[in-house]
Amino acid sequence: MLEHSAKPQVSDTADWRGFVALFLTVLIGVAVGTYLFILLVDPYGIIPFSLPIDRRIVSISQRFMYPQIVRSKRFDSLIIGTSTSRLLDPQLLDKLFHVRIANLAMDSAMAWEQKTMLDLFLRTAGPPKLLIVGLDMVWCDEHADQHRITFRGFPAWLYDDNPWNDYLYLFNYGTLEIAARLIGYHLGLYPEHVRYDGYEVFVPPESQYDPARAHANIWRDKLPPPTVLPPPLTLADLNKLEFPALAWLDEGLARIPSPSLKILAFMPNHVAAQPVPGTHAAQALGECKARIRAIAQRRGAIMIDWDIASSLTSNDLNYWDTLHYRVPIATQLAKELAGAALSGQEAADGTYRILVR
């Protein structure tokens, strides 16, 4: 099926030589120029010889953008978690706890990704004055050691201590685009996307809140509760459950000495997203919370649980969807968090429980 190409004429050969030379010159020139542009702009803040410009967060790719916040050493405290913790405003928490905190919670972050962020902080900035772990189901995933990252991918090279492997991952369209956005920011053409402390209001503006739409979002995929509950799991069954991420949590807390304030907070999922009481899922979550409680007691952490049926989590008007509460609720949570952690203030309306103090 293969044929050899026809032998070219001499004049053709000269023309083609010129063509190939021009092609290679442009290819190498543009590729090298593009790479140098990326290295000099350095949108991830990792290249030692990059331009000394103010690097703002101009992309919503939190997994790529947040390591530079840690490496900046501007913050002595951090929040890790998923999108359920992203609305906790660091500026408010700074005032309440007298710290400089960065909110490094990431959309749909798996437990391993959160643990990797904490590792980076501990190695780079040392033990935090305040650590808030926004707990979600990902920490109670029985296969967390297999479900380490999401479909988004995770740039582990940005989280290691090897500065040389980073160069391999920078020549790509995504990095070029973010570098161009950063230049656009300095030219006044592109806005800062996420505040440098990681805070971003990713839900729509309050003025656009539509109760009917929120109600539909919350209850759209809700299955009817089971008519017959299964036989409850026995103590032996519960003891057999494995939550691999809890070993990472335990190890991370063990590396933070006692003067630091460590808060483990189960964030308030709407009751529609909470397991139906009496089901195996609810029992497994209860067992997971009990084990986290034991870790908190062992490691001197405070544990608060908003993930319960309450006037907060039963009211559709507090939510955009089952996981994402509204901005005023985030403000309320930050204040309750400070009150509970600093002075043991219990919830007057039963919206949270202090499990360990």
């Binding site: 190409s5 063509f19 092609f23 920078l170």
Partner: protein, 249 residues
Amino acid sequence: MADPLFAKAGLHALNLGQAWSAVLAFSFQLFLDFSAYTEMAIGSALIFGLILPENFRRPYVATDIRDFWRRWHISLSNFLRDYLYIPLGGSRHGPWCYVVATMVTMGLCGLWHGAGWTYVAWGLWHGLGLAVCHGWQRFGRPMPKLAGWFITMLFVLAGWVIFRAASFTVAASILASLAGGGGMGGALQEIKLLIAAALVSALIPSAHEIINGLKKPHPALAVGAAALAVYCLLEVGEGAPVNFIYFQF
């Protein structure tokens, strides 16, 4: 877009917009996936001075089904023609022999794509189309090009439904939905993407069309090709490869 919609069709009937979105998306996905792969092989071989045979020549501009098979997976079509269709008698022994040879060849062509009855049915569907097309062309009454293209594309799209569906039940459900059987609601999804895919499929020539039309190297082409190569390098650098789907056939 195609995969979730075809999966959804296995659970309940799609509406009109969903059904057309699914079928169009899969048609472009299959062609662009396989065609791009073979063009890469052809281009890589050309760098070493080897000319591999052409495999696709803009099949979605075909104006009849015979034309389609002269443009789609040409290496397989040629193989089946030389080693199956012609030994079976081809068109040399009357119309019935032609029909039998065509149906056997295309039935086996379907089976070549996968061990499933839907693939065989897809092959026989195309065998039927080829036979009808052959018969029509023998009458000597040519169809207007635009009408020919429209009918051919409807025929090919219906074939892709049979080809892609997990079962005959799902295929029948999607075909019914394409005619509005699942409700007339919905709209085409990702319409810009579908238009882009249609333009790329119809306008970008194959490597063979390019080299055959290239009488003299032009500097603008060198610059354009280099810019395109840099873009490709940047895309490769993303490090997030998309699965090549045709490997399974």
